[in-house]
Amino acid sequence: MFRYLVRRLLQMVLTFFGATFVVYALMFANQDDPLQALAGERPLTESQRIALTERYHLDDSFLQQYWYYIKGLLTGNFGTSLTGRSINDMLADAWPVTIKLAIIAILIASTVAVIAGVISGIRRGGAFDNVTLIGTLILLSLPIVVLAPLAQLIFGIQLGWFPPTATRDATVYQLLLPALVLGSLVVATELRVTRSSVAENLRADYVRTARAKGLSRNRVIGVHVLRNSLIPVITLIGVDIGALMSGAIVTEGVFNIPGVGFNLFRGIRTEDGPLVVGFVSVLVIVFLVVNLIVDLLYAALDPRIRYE
């Protein structure tokens, strides 16, 4: 376990520098005049230009600039947006809402996925199984740009079951519909993994033993099979976080939820470069850390998993 921990942490360090480097390189590829972009339409005088070049280290080499960027990230300083607000402040405002949204989404998605996955795993090839398989296929291929506006139109506006937009302090009720939309992004893969791992575990020796010693069917499935089937589902959370982040940008934009995704959405719309880069960097770091935790959790939960 200890060796695995060390290996995984070292890998994390490599991925962290690699991923931030790629993001930074992508951002600086093909950039012509960042100072003019900062100033907008206004002409810049020569002295302003020199001062700004000095301030943003634009004369330094690419690697040196990358170093300044990394230093900012590691000390928790993500810069300021073009509107002059510190990105740390904006993040502090936005995180609670997004975390609330993500938790509701994950709760809904995993409840549905586990219940439906267990049922279709037990009755493989049955009617329920076939319907859920087709359902997951359709869910997998519904792009979030289709799902979010259509859900808002149908359930928020036409049927009026849910509030179509959220207010500044979003309540759980206001977040319910967006969370459903967001959850449907991840429910399909979770369901499929639950289904196949339940079907696999049902054939395992320990299930036969449990049956043979006279345990009831409910106990065998509810305790023995379910516990072992949930392990691969947990690892999916790491992947899910990536999907949720991408989904949150569109969903929060459509439903007007003042979270991280909404800020990013608005930053893209208003061409606020520093804001976009700051937020993307933070999200990439969150993604990496969550994946690290999930991997460690996986190794702790399943003693059979040992990486060398």
Partner: protein
């Protein structure tokens, strides 16, 4: 089975002239692809997906087959008018024919999707093949690179890159989006290719070819690639669907196609604010986009099931 055929054909060539040929046709050793094709022909999902794909490709190639209206002929006097015999889906905020714009929107989606998938396919093929075939340090280095790329959630990377590439306001963004999706989307393909190459590299026929003196180039492209390409192609089919969805998402966010480009993503974004007055401009592009993505993902799914029956 083929032995049996050979025997019956040589022993009794003239007795039953039609029978042996028939038997031979039935029992001819089938290739993996042949097997898969027989499975595919029985799959309903495959046929639904194939029909959808053909319709969409027709729409992209000859949109005028489906509509005689000009998608760029807009007039504010017709703003948000309902459906009629002239415009089946009504008119949008700008007074453009929603049906015509939806039909013409297929072209950009397909162009971006196909070209981005080709770029991703070439990068994935080269990297997967190189790291699987050479192994060792090359493999270690390339695999770490793939790990790093996977550390960036796709849409976040795409936002940063597309924002940079599409900075020029004169441009309609087709090239920028294509490059963005291609450069970021190759990782899954490379991983799949790598493991397929590793498993077919150790087969006997590769060793035989090597002993006969084939160089690495011939080994790779004549022997290994044809035998490990199947699952890679499946990944690319699904990626095509994902790329079309991502193009729409980027266009929706305002960093994909823009200007006067006709795109489902733009249409959805533009219809959003007016959805209370007119829902059709939002609903129809959404349905077409979803159907297109669904068609490619279903196609990939059906082909994968046919090639790999274990997964079912």
């Amino acid at each position: 089975m083929s032995d049996l055929n050979a025997v019956s054909a040589t022993e009794a060539p003239g007795q039953v002239p039609t029978e042996p040929r028939h038997v031979e046709k039935q029992n001819k050793p089938r290739s993996l692809a042949g097997d898969a094709w027989i499975d595919l022909r029985r799959s309903k999902i495959f046929w639904i997906a194939a029909v959808l794909v053909v319709i969409i490709l027709l729409m992209a190639a000859w949109p005028s087959l489906f509509t005689s209206a000009d998608p760029r002929a807009c007039s504010l006097s017709r703003q948000h008018q309902g459906p009629s015999g002239e415009a089946f889906f009504g008119y949008d905020f700008q007074g453009c024919d929603v049906y015509a714009r939806t039909i013409y929107g297929a072209r950009n989606s397909i162009i971006v999707g196909v070209c981005a998938t080709l770029i991703a396919g070439i990068i994935g093929l080269v990297i997967g093949l190189a790291s699987g075939f050479y192994g060792g340090a090359t493999d270690a280095l390339l695999s770490r690179f793939v790990d790093v790329m996977l550390g960036i959630p796709f849409l976040l990377g795409a936002i940063v890159l597309a924002k940079r590439l599409s900075a020029d306001p004169q441009n309609n963004g087709v090239v920028a989006v294509t490059v963005t999706l291609g450069v970021l989307g190759w990782t899954t393909g490379a991983r799949v290719m790598r493991s397929a190459v590793i498993s077919s590299k150790n087969q006997d026929y590769v060793a035989a070819a090597r002993m006969l003196g084939s160089g690495p180039g011939r080994l790779m492209f004549r022997h290994i690639v044809p035998n490990s390409i199947a699952s890679f192609v499946v990944v690319l089919t699904i990626l095509l669907g994902i790329n079309i969805a991502s193009e729409a998402t980027l266009s929706f966010l305002g960093i994909g196609l823009k200007g006067d480009a006709i795109s489902w993503g733009i249409a959805i974004a533009e219809a959003g604010p007016y959805v209370r007055t007119a829902a059709a401009p939002l609903v129809w592009p959404s349905i077409f986009l979803a159907a297109t993505v669904l068609a490619f993902i279903m196609l990939g799914d059906a082909v994968r099931d046919a090639f790999d029956p274990k997964l079912r």
